[in-house]
């Protein structure tokens, strides 16, 4: 991939991933399973991006983590907090508004191209 484009992509993904993670944590789950869910949805997330993000969200009290031993292996399970839900609603509103703006912009560009 073009390295400069990769930079733009990771910048865009940064905000999206926060929202995506908050969206996945209505029921408790752990990092590896989240990555598998992402892959299943066709969204590739780097492991060493996801875990620092989970830690930051936990520090901000948007999610809550708890260690559990399942299948003989200790895993840290995360779940969204009430504060996290509020933030998620607001972030979704912002995302929808941004999408509408982009659609309008695209539509304007198409119309301009049609006139030319």
């Amino acid at each position: 991939m073009d390295p400069e484009f990769g930079h733009f992509e990771s910048e865009m993904n940064r905000g999206f991933l926060q929202l995506f993670v908050l969206g996945m944590l209505d029921s408790p789950t752990y990092g590896y399973r989240m990555l598998k869910t992402c892959e299943g949805l066709g969204y590739r997330v780097e492991e060493n991006t996801l875990y620092p993000l989970l830690r930051r969200l936990e520090r901000m009290e948007l999610i809550q983590g708890e260690w559990n031993v399942t299948g003989g292996r200790p895993r840290k399970f995360y779940v969204i907090t009430p504060l996290g839900r509020d933030v998620r609603v607001r972030l979704l509103d912002i995302r929808r508004a941004q999408n509408k703006i982009l659609e309008k912009l695209e539509q304007g560009n198409r119309e301009e191209d049609g006139h030319v």
Partner: protein, 313 residues
């Protein structure tokens, strides 16, 4: 326990100066084991080695956790170089002066330039530059770690410097109390030839020092009082930072004289009290405060002067 994995986690830990890093490593261990099992069907040193390679270098992994944790805020980058430059100019001036006069130079609490020859001073300057850089970086590090928003001064060298607020307006009552204080100290001095006493017996007061030292230090103290009163009087008519700067400079010279007394001192105080030790500690504290006040007023006078130049243009 797998050596590959534990060595890798140890290296990540080396780059991870965070509270709770043990928990991060536990989560990382759990993830890598699960991923290895999933990808290769078996967990052994070889499969772990491949999984670790895919995960990334320990430094890169640790840095992802440290995003946003700055040692020095990026906003202070220009300050780091400008302040280092200013300190180095000051350090160089001190070095040249020390070399020229063949003496050592000291500005408390940060600068000490020893006495040395011209060639030695050339070797000293690179070290001074590293010191100045380190000192500036240390201060900016403390400001950054304090997490507050700080607007550090940014001198603009005559063009565009912000005009500082004037010093507090002096009042006649303040002047009167200063003059009364000065009068009392002066009267005590003229009666007893000293203002330092070992006892407070008014009928037979005992001087703290021998006559020569008493006269010398009392005159210095009187001169400090005199400069305070004179500066205060001038400020009634022309209230500016430069007046206070001159007064602070005079006080620094007087303190220099106090440090460099040209005789032996005999103390008449009680034997169980280390009078000279206390006096020296007090003088150190006073000199540090006076040096700080002088530097602060120097900056304010500089800004005051630059704004006057700008207004006249």
């Amino acid at each position: 326990m797998y050596d590959n994995l534990e060595n890798y986690l140890r290296e990540v830990h080396h780059f991870l100066p965070l509270k709770g890093s043990d928990e991060i490593l536990s989560e990382l261990r759990s993830h890598i084991l699960e991923r290895t099992e999933d990808a290769y069907g078996v967990i052994d040193e070889e499969s772990l080695g491949k999984a670790i390679e895919d995960y990334g270098s320990p430094q890169r992994v640790a840095e992802k956790y440290l995003e946003g944790c700055h040692v020095i805020s990026p906003g202070f980058r220009r300050h780091l170089f400008l302040y280092t430059g200013m300190l180095f100019v000051l350090h160089t001036a001190l070095t040249i002066t020390a070399w020229f006069f063949g003496t050592d130079m000291l500005i408390l609490p940060f600068f000490y330039v020893p006495r040395f020859s011209g060639v030695q001073s050339l070797f000293y300057l690179p070290m001074a530059l590293i010191y100045d850089f380190g000192l500036t970086a240390f201060v900016l590090y403390l400001v950054t770690q304090n997490k507050g928003e700080a607007r550090l001064p940014w001198p603009r060298f005559w063009k565009g410097a912000d005009k500082p607020s004037p010093p507090p307006k002096p009042g006649r009552a303040g002047l009167l109390s200063l003059l009364i204080g000065f009068g009392v100290v002066a009267a005590v001095f003229f009666i007893f030839r000293t203002v330092f006493f070992a006892t407070i017996d008014l009928k037979d007061p005992q001087p703290l020092f021998d006559p020569r030292a008493s006269l010398y230090f009392s005159l210095i103290l009187l001169a400090v009082f005199g400069s305070e009163a004179a500066a205060y009087t001038v400020r009634l008519f022309h209230n500016s930072h430069s007046v206070i700067l001159v007064k602070n400079g005079v006080i620094l010279i007087l303190l220099w004289l106090a440090w460099n007394y040209p005789f032996e001192i005999t103390v008449h105080g009680p034997e169980e009290v280390d009078v000279l030790g206390f006096a020296t500690a007090g003088l150190v504290a006073w000199t540090v405060l006076a040096a700080w006040a002088f530097l602060k007023r120097l900056t304010l006078s500089w800004r005051e002067g630059s704004s006057l130049v700008r207004e006249s243009e």
